[in-house]
Point group: C2
Chain length 195, copies 2
């Protein structure tokens, strides 16, 4: 049994929930509101000094944070991590890329529009441009393979689908990215995403 | 033999060089100027569509990008990756944290001051504040352990030392972070950093 602290509006938090469900890992979910800053209460900071969600408390009492590190730990030894070293490296490449070159644009635009009530005109044009650059690179990549690490679904798809499937909520029209749209359906089905 | 494409002014690129040197992996270094935008020439985009350095071309001809994914691939099976699953998870946690919560502030301030010729007054105060928050979290963590994944040096230290050791070039005075200063020396020595 693990404890997951997170907010269901956060793709980063949902990644952890999906992997636990996919692998049949028992968990207790603890809601933490990311809009009101509840991640930085003294009780939560004592558990996770980084002051962010998601984080998990493992059976031994250890806390682990960073969504992609958490899902990598939960999925060790499972089919969500390729055995082939190069495919595994490719998976990690896309997971680091997701956090540096996708999430700060696609997820941030969505958060501002949907949860902070900003209008599209208020969005920083640089964020929108870089979000589209991320989607364009995904589209070009998916012209060559079914999933990001190769032929089978992996944690790279878990990481990337989390905010790509709700990119429209950030003002990113996926009509221009047909291969990305096809992959979202494949990834949701392979991972077993229901929410 | 691997080919490393990078710029020695970039900590992300130096990580790859250091790990290759530490592990005795033969490599050819190809200089790519990050200030002039040379990463986006047609020839380099053909090798690495993400248009960034570092990237490597592996013996089989495959390209791999994202500094932390590259060093993870190079170091598989070495002592730079802990065998204990929890220590390995902790290592990855800090590597993802480095790219999301440290590099975008500490490295970006340094790049603007040192390589774009901006003055300290031009820096976005939000970047400076978050850079100091990152250093403060490192300081608190190093009160409890010698290296970020535990008692031994790991890729987490490679990733974090790259820009922390030059943080002063970004206007971050490390005088207030004595444990970080001590760890920089330990990490440089354990990794074998000479430049």
């Amino acid at each position: 049994m693990i404890d997951i602290y997170g907010d269901r509006i956060s793709g980063n938090c949902l990644k952890v929930k999906w992997v636990a469900e996919h692998l049949g890992i028992a968990f207790a979910w603890h809601d933490v509101n990311v809009v009101t800053g509840a991640t930085r209460t003294p009780a939560l900071l004592a558990l996770n000094p980084a002051g962010k969600v998601p984080f998990v408390v493992l059976p031994g009492g250890e806390t682990l944070s960073e969504s992609n590190a958490i899902i990598h730990h939960l999925a060790e030894g499972s089919a969500l991590i390729p055995v082939d070293p190069l495919a595994r490296a490719r998976m990690l490449q896309w997971m680091f890329w997701e956090q540096y070159s996708h999430e700060p644009y696609v997820a941030v635009c969505r958060f501002q529009l949907r949860y902070l009530g900003h209008s599209a005109a208020d969005l920083d044009p640089r964020l929108v441009e870089r979000g589209h650059a991320a989607l364009a690179l995904m589209e070009a990549t998916l012209a060559q393979r079914r999933f990001f690490a190769g032929d089978a679904v992996s944690l790279a798809d878990v990481a990337l689908v989390a905010y790509t499937r709700v990119a429209h909520e950030g003002g990113f029209d996926l009509a221009g990215y047909p291969k990305v749209r096809g992959w979202i359906g494949r990834a949701e089905q392979a991972i077993g995403i229901r929410d």
